[in-house]
Amino acid sequence: MAGPATRYRVLDPSAPRRAADPLVADVARAMLGEVVERTPHGPTGDLAAGWQVTHGRAPAAYLLTNTATRPGKNGPVPYAQFVEYGTATRGYAQPMVGPVMTEWRARVGRRR
Protein backbone atom coordinates (compact mmCIF):
# COMPACT_ATOMS: atom_id res chain seq x y z
CA MET A 1 0.00 0.00 0.00
CA ALA A 2 1.47 3.29 -1.07
CA GLY A 3 2.02 5.82 1.68
CA PRO A 4 2.08 9.56 1.45
CA ALA A 5 4.68 10.97 -0.89
CA THR A 6 7.84 12.26 0.73
CA ARG A 7 9.75 15.13 -0.74
CA TYR A 8 13.45 15.63 -0.25
CA ARG A 9 15.46 18.70 -0.99
CA VAL A 10 19.08 18.02 -1.88
CA LEU A 11 21.16 20.58 -0.09
CA ASP A 12 24.61 19.41 -1.19
CA PRO A 13 24.58 17.56 -4.56
CA SER A 14 28.31 16.89 -4.54
CA ALA A 15 28.36 15.34 -1.07
CA PRO A 16 28.19 11.73 -2.36
CA ARG A 17 31.14 12.33 -4.66
CA ARG A 18 33.17 13.90 -1.87
CA ALA A 19 32.35 10.99 0.40
CA ALA A 20 33.43 8.52 -2.27
CA ASP A 21 36.61 10.40 -3.14
CA PRO A 22 38.97 8.62 -0.71
CA LEU A 23 37.59 5.23 -1.70
CA VAL A 24 38.07 5.96 -5.39
CA ALA A 25 41.55 7.27 -4.65
CA ASP A 26 42.40 3.97 -2.97
CA VAL A 27 41.14 2.02 -5.98
CA ALA A 28 43.09 4.26 -8.35
CA ARG A 29 46.30 3.79 -6.39
CA ALA A 30 45.77 0.02 -6.24
CA MET A 31 45.21 -0.06 -10.00
CA LEU A 32 48.32 2.01 -10.52
CA GLY A 33 50.42 -0.52 -8.67
CA GLU A 34 49.01 -3.42 -10.65
CA VAL A 35 49.49 -1.64 -13.98
CA VAL A 36 53.10 -0.80 -13.12
CA GLU A 37 53.68 -4.42 -12.20
CA ARG A 38 52.37 -5.55 -15.59
CA THR A 39 54.26 -3.00 -17.66
CA PRO A 40 57.25 -4.41 -19.56
CA HIS A 41 60.52 -2.71 -18.77
CA GLY A 42 62.26 -1.71 -22.00
CA PRO A 43 65.73 -0.25 -22.60
CA THR A 44 64.79 3.22 -21.33
CA GLY A 45 62.27 2.25 -18.65
CA ASP A 46 60.15 5.26 -19.63
CA LEU A 47 56.93 3.31 -19.92
CA ALA A 48 57.23 1.46 -16.64
CA ALA A 49 58.30 4.60 -14.78
CA GLY A 50 55.76 6.90 -16.37
CA TRP A 51 52.50 5.75 -14.81
CA GLN A 52 50.85 8.17 -12.44
CA VAL A 53 47.49 8.91 -10.88
CA THR A 54 46.26 12.47 -10.79
CA HIS A 55 43.08 13.95 -9.42
CA GLY A 56 40.45 14.82 -11.99
CA ARG A 57 38.45 18.01 -12.09
CA ALA A 58 35.52 16.56 -10.12
CA PRO A 59 35.56 14.82 -6.73
CA ALA A 60 35.94 11.03 -6.97
CA ALA A 61 37.49 11.28 -10.45
CA TYR A 62 41.05 10.09 -10.91
CA LEU A 63 43.14 9.77 -14.06
CA LEU A 64 45.67 7.05 -14.74
CA THR A 65 48.13 8.42 -17.27
CA ASN A 66 51.57 7.67 -18.61
CA THR A 67 54.14 10.42 -19.04
CA ALA A 68 57.86 10.08 -19.29
CA THR A 69 59.55 12.45 -16.86
CA ARG A 70 63.26 11.76 -17.04
CA PRO A 71 65.62 14.61 -18.02
CA GLY A 72 65.46 15.30 -21.72
CA LYS A 73 62.29 13.31 -22.14
CA ASN A 74 59.09 14.77 -20.76
CA GLY A 75 55.78 13.88 -22.35
CA PRO A 76 53.60 10.98 -23.40
CA VAL A 77 55.39 7.76 -24.26
CA PRO A 78 54.54 7.41 -27.96
CA TYR A 79 54.72 3.63 -28.13
CA ALA A 80 52.53 2.98 -25.08
CA GLN A 81 49.45 2.26 -27.21
CA PHE A 82 51.35 -0.27 -29.32
CA VAL A 83 52.46 -2.16 -26.24
CA GLU A 84 48.88 -2.21 -24.98
CA TYR A 85 47.11 -3.06 -28.24
CA GLY A 86 49.83 -4.62 -30.41
CA THR A 87 51.08 -3.51 -33.80
CA ALA A 88 50.70 -4.57 -37.39
CA THR A 89 54.28 -5.78 -37.71
CA ARG A 90 54.66 -7.27 -34.27
CA GLY A 91 51.51 -9.27 -33.94
CA TYR A 92 51.44 -9.56 -30.20
CA ALA A 93 50.41 -7.12 -27.55
CA GLN A 94 51.44 -6.94 -23.92
CA PRO A 95 48.34 -5.42 -22.34
CA MET A 96 49.08 -3.54 -19.15
CA VAL A 97 45.84 -1.70 -18.43
CA GLY A 98 43.18 -3.99 -19.94
CA PRO A 99 43.64 -6.95 -17.59
CA VAL A 100 43.69 -4.68 -14.55
CA MET A 101 40.49 -2.96 -15.70
CA THR A 102 38.78 -6.33 -16.21
CA GLU A 103 39.88 -7.51 -12.80
CA TRP A 104 38.61 -4.37 -11.05
CA ARG A 105 35.34 -4.29 -12.95
CA ALA A 106 34.68 -7.81 -11.73
CA ARG A 107 35.79 -6.95 -8.19
CA VAL A 108 33.90 -3.73 -7.55
CA GLY A 109 31.68 -3.41 -10.60
CA ARG A 110 27.96 -3.38 -10.99
CA ARG A 111 27.54 -7.12 -11.37
CA ARG A 112 28.31 -8.10 -7.79
Binding site: Q81, Y85, G86, T87, A88, T89, G91, A93, P95, G98, P99, M101, T102, E103, R105, A106, R111
Partner: protein, 137 residues
Protein backbone atom coordinates in the same frame (compact mmCIF):
# COMPACT_ATOMS: atom_id res chain seq x y z
CA UNK B 1 35.81 -32.67 10.85
CA UNK B 2 35.49 -33.46 7.18
CA UNK B 3 36.40 -30.84 4.63
CA UNK B 4 34.18 -30.86 1.58
CA UNK B 5 35.05 -28.77 -1.42
CA UNK B 6 32.59 -27.83 -4.16
CA UNK B 7 32.96 -29.66 -7.45
CA UNK B 8 35.64 -28.47 -9.82
CA UNK B 9 33.81 -27.04 -12.78
CA UNK B 10 35.42 -27.47 -16.19
CA UNK B 11 35.17 -24.19 -18.06
CA UNK B 12 34.14 -24.12 -21.72
CA UNK B 13 36.48 -22.61 -24.30
CA UNK B 14 34.96 -19.17 -24.77
CA UNK B 15 37.77 -17.98 -27.04
CA UNK B 16 37.03 -20.80 -29.49
CA UNK B 17 33.34 -19.99 -29.29
CA UNK B 18 33.91 -16.33 -30.11
CA UNK B 19 36.25 -17.23 -32.95
CA UNK B 20 33.71 -19.65 -34.40
CA UNK B 21 31.28 -16.74 -34.63
CA UNK B 22 33.55 -13.99 -35.96
CA UNK B 23 36.02 -15.91 -38.11
CA UNK B 24 33.77 -15.67 -41.16
CA UNK B 25 34.42 -11.92 -41.21
CA UNK B 26 37.62 -11.39 -43.26
CA UNK B 27 40.60 -9.51 -41.83
CA UNK B 28 39.70 -10.18 -38.22
CA UNK B 29 41.99 -11.37 -35.43
CA UNK B 30 41.20 -11.90 -31.76
CA UNK B 31 42.97 -12.74 -28.55
CA UNK B 32 42.06 -12.91 -24.90
CA UNK B 33 44.00 -10.59 -22.59
CA UNK B 34 42.28 -11.49 -19.32
CA UNK B 35 40.07 -14.13 -17.76
CA UNK B 36 38.52 -13.45 -14.37
CA UNK B 37 36.45 -15.89 -12.33
CA UNK B 38 33.91 -15.23 -9.65
CA UNK B 39 34.63 -16.55 -6.17
CA UNK B 40 33.07 -19.93 -6.81
CA UNK B 41 34.77 -20.47 -10.15
CA UNK B 42 31.59 -20.90 -12.12
CA UNK B 43 31.11 -17.62 -13.95
CA UNK B 44 34.03 -16.39 -16.01
CA UNK B 45 34.63 -13.04 -17.67
CA UNK B 46 36.84 -13.05 -20.75
CA UNK B 47 38.47 -9.80 -21.82
CA UNK B 48 39.00 -10.08 -25.56
CA UNK B 49 40.54 -7.74 -28.10
CA UNK B 50 39.28 -8.06 -31.64
CA UNK B 51 41.05 -6.23 -34.48
CA UNK B 52 39.52 -5.70 -37.90
CA UNK B 53 41.79 -4.85 -40.83
CA UNK B 54 40.99 -4.02 -44.43
CA UNK B 55 42.49 -2.16 -47.39
CA UNK B 56 40.62 1.04 -46.58
CA UNK B 57 39.74 2.74 -43.34
CA UNK B 58 36.02 2.61 -44.10
CA UNK B 59 36.14 -1.10 -44.91
CA UNK B 60 38.01 -1.79 -41.68
CA UNK B 61 35.41 0.19 -39.80
CA UNK B 62 32.60 -1.77 -41.47
CA UNK B 63 34.22 -5.04 -40.47
CA UNK B 64 34.68 -3.83 -36.90
CA UNK B 65 31.01 -2.96 -36.78
CA UNK B 66 30.10 -6.42 -38.10
CA UNK B 67 32.24 -7.87 -35.32
CA UNK B 68 30.54 -5.68 -32.72
CA UNK B 69 27.12 -6.85 -33.81
CA UNK B 70 28.21 -10.48 -33.80
CA UNK B 71 29.72 -10.19 -30.32
CA UNK B 72 26.67 -8.48 -28.88
CA UNK B 73 24.59 -11.32 -30.30
CA UNK B 74 26.71 -14.01 -28.63
CA UNK B 75 24.12 -14.75 -25.89
CA UNK B 76 21.73 -15.77 -28.66
CA UNK B 77 24.17 -18.04 -30.45
CA UNK B 78 23.83 -21.78 -29.89
CA UNK B 79 26.77 -23.15 -27.93
CA UNK B 80 26.83 -26.77 -26.85
CA UNK B 81 29.67 -26.40 -24.31
CA UNK B 82 28.58 -23.35 -22.37
CA UNK B 83 26.29 -20.39 -21.90
CA UNK B 84 27.17 -16.83 -22.81
CA UNK B 85 25.15 -14.68 -20.45
CA UNK B 86 26.32 -11.24 -21.49
CA UNK B 87 28.72 -9.52 -23.86
CA UNK B 88 29.61 -5.87 -23.63
CA UNK B 89 32.01 -3.59 -25.47
CA UNK B 90 34.39 -1.88 -23.06
CA UNK B 91 36.60 -0.07 -25.61
CA UNK B 92 36.00 0.91 -29.19
CA UNK B 93 35.72 0.11 -31.97
CA UNK B 94 38.23 2.89 -32.62
CA UNK B 95 40.68 3.53 -35.43
CA UNK B 96 44.16 2.44 -34.46
CA UNK B 97 46.93 4.03 -36.53
CA UNK B 98 49.48 1.32 -37.17
CA UNK B 99 51.60 3.39 -39.53
CA UNK B 100 51.53 4.21 -43.23
CA UNK B 101 52.78 0.81 -44.33
CA UNK B 102 50.10 -1.18 -42.52
CA UNK B 103 46.49 -1.87 -43.35
CA UNK B 104 43.97 0.32 -41.55
CA UNK B 105 42.87 -1.25 -38.31
CA UNK B 106 39.93 -0.80 -36.01
CA UNK B 107 40.33 -2.18 -32.51
CA UNK B 108 37.73 -3.05 -29.93
CA UNK B 109 37.73 -4.77 -26.59
CA UNK B 110 34.87 -6.75 -25.15
CA UNK B 111 34.06 -8.45 -21.90
CA UNK B 112 32.24 -11.72 -22.46
CA UNK B 113 30.58 -13.45 -19.55
CA UNK B 114 30.18 -17.21 -19.70
CA UNK B 115 29.54 -20.27 -17.59
CA UNK B 116 29.38 -24.01 -18.28
CA UNK B 117 26.10 -25.69 -19.08
CA UNK B 118 24.77 -27.42 -15.93
CA UNK B 119 24.68 -30.79 -17.66
CA UNK B 120 28.29 -30.26 -18.67
CA UNK B 121 29.42 -30.32 -15.06
CA UNK B 122 28.19 -33.89 -14.67
CA UNK B 123 29.57 -34.84 -18.05
CA UNK B 124 33.06 -33.61 -17.26
CA UNK B 125 33.47 -35.27 -13.87
CA UNK B 126 30.44 -36.96 -12.44
CA UNK B 127 32.26 -38.28 -9.40
CA UNK B 128 32.70 -34.77 -8.08
CA UNK B 129 29.15 -33.60 -8.53
CA UNK B 130 28.08 -33.94 -4.94
CA UNK B 131 31.24 -32.56 -3.47
CA UNK B 132 34.75 -33.89 -3.15
CA UNK B 133 35.89 -35.22 0.18
CA UNK B 134 39.60 -34.56 0.34
CA UNK B 135 40.56 -35.23 3.89
CA UNK B 136 39.73 -35.37 7.54
CA UNK B 137 41.00 -33.19 10.33
Amino acid sequence: MTTVYPPVVAQPDAEAFVWSVISSIPGVTSFSYAVVFDWIGFNATYGMQIDARASTKQAARDRAEAVRQAVLNLPGEPWADGVCTYAEPVEGPFWFPDGDDASPRYTARYEIHVHPVPSGIARHDGARDTGRIVGKE
